[in-house]
């Protein structure tokens, strides 16, 4: 019975959340409260863990909640249920998109959409800047401009950004280097 609840819940979340992992939160919270799968504290911990571990946040949350309620089978069912709606929808869209992408109406729509999506990605990047390169809370407390900037992080950012434009190594290389530097210099 609990497996059926997990399947239906995550299928619904996959079907009705548009805009990435954190857009699933309201639906997920509602289900978690209704079925009493997690306490409030566990829910907050679950989000923190999903954001800091690798992989898409939405998948991490589904796996975590599924595992907590129904073990390995629960984790697998939750994850497959959340991806099933988009799997079907995307295959249908991909099928037609590959047929109609040369149509003037579709081409002109994408010419307007591309700059907007680039801006959405830039905005997502800006959100990470706010938690990684600057300390807004410390600045609000102390009102000292020097407190606003995380100097260590900004130096690492500049070095990485300049290097990756000169030497085009695999992104994984820079992620590992940054992890090591973060560990050594206590970011």
């Amino acid at each position: 019975m609990i497996y059926l609840e997990v399947c239906i819940t995550f299928f619904t979340i996959g079907l009705f959340s548009i805009g990435g992992g954190l857009a699933t939160l309201p639906l997920l919270q509602e289900a978690v409260e209704r079925y009493q799968w997690l306490t409030n504290q566990e829910f907050v911990d679950m989000i923190a863990i999903s954001q800091s571990t690798p992989g898409p946040i939405g998948i991490n949350m589904a796996t975590y909640v599924g595992f907590n309620t129904g073990g390995i089978l629960g984790a697998l069912l939750a994850t497959f249920s959340i991806i099933l709606p988009s799997f079907i929808i995307i295959i249908i869209i991909a099928h037609f998109f590959m047929k109609f992408n040369e149509q003037p109406l579709v081409r002109s729509a994408f010419m307007g959409l591309r700059p907007a999506v680039t801006a959405l990605i830039a905005a997502a990047c800006f959100e990470v800047v706010k938690v990684s390169l600057v300390h807004i809370e410390q600045y609000v407390e102390t009102q000292e401009l020097l407190q606003l900037f995380d100097i260590k992080a900004i130096v690492l950012f500049l070095v990485l950004f300049i290097t990756m434009n000169k030497i085009r190594k695999h992104p994984i290389v820079y992620i590992i280097i940054a992890a090591v530097i973060g560990g050594i210099f206590q970011f």
């Binding site: 939405g58 680039t118 959405l120």
Partner: protein
């Protein structure tokens, strides 16, 4: 069959090193899918990501499914989708079985903070590349600027922004595209 396996492995690697939301996978997709494997062009990836963002479900999964389907049909879509979710499944289950204390170690927190800095640099780099293939004229610059401000400062809903951009694109560019076709 070899290509299907290749899709699985490639997206497994992308899933393993994506720290953050769907946007964080873009630098990896550019490297793996556009540069190394040449499964799609820069602009196709942007278009597919745009579709992934405007359709139900998780952006990272939608983008992977689409790229897999484009390469090898339904089997390819299944392989890339499984690839992107498998690292999460393994890592989260390990953590949920009692390894969550690892995340409380100071060293792990410092490393994750370092990784976030790398993600900013990598995604900014990806945005600059995308800008080059997406912003072609001053109308593009305006759409970019208005979208960025609407989302960061005024918390506009993404769906609204995307819908406006589509309508604007059709209104402004349709005639031009038709003229080009003739």
């Amino acid at each position: 069959m070899k290509e299907v396996w290749d899709l699985f492995i490639t997206f497994f690697r992308i899933g393993l090193f994506t720290f953050g939301g769907g946007y964080a996978m873009l630098p990896l997709i550019q490297k793996e899918v556009v540069e190394s494997k040449k499964w799609a062009t820069e602009q196709e990836v942007l278009d597919i990501y745009a579709i992934g963002q405007s359709t139900p479900g998780l952006i990272a999964v939608n983008t992977s499914t689409f790229l897999g389907y484009k390469r090898k049909g339904i089997l390819g879509a299944a392989a890339s989708t499984l690839g992107i979710v498998t690292p999460s499944l393994i890592i989260i289950m390990l953590i949920a079985t009692g390894l969550s204390y690892l995340l409380d170690y100071a060293i792990v927190k410092h490393m994750l903070a370092g990784i976030r800095v790398a993600v900013v640099a990598l995604v900014l780099n990806a945005v600059i590349r995308m800008w080059k293939s997406s912003v072609k004229d001053w109308i593009g610059i305006i759409i970019f600027a208005v979208t960025f401000i609407a989302v960061t400062l005024f918390n506009f809903s993404m769906i609204l922004v995307v819908a406006c951009a589509i309508v604007l694109g059709m209104a402004i560019y349709l005639r031009k595209v038709k003229e080009q076709n003739q």
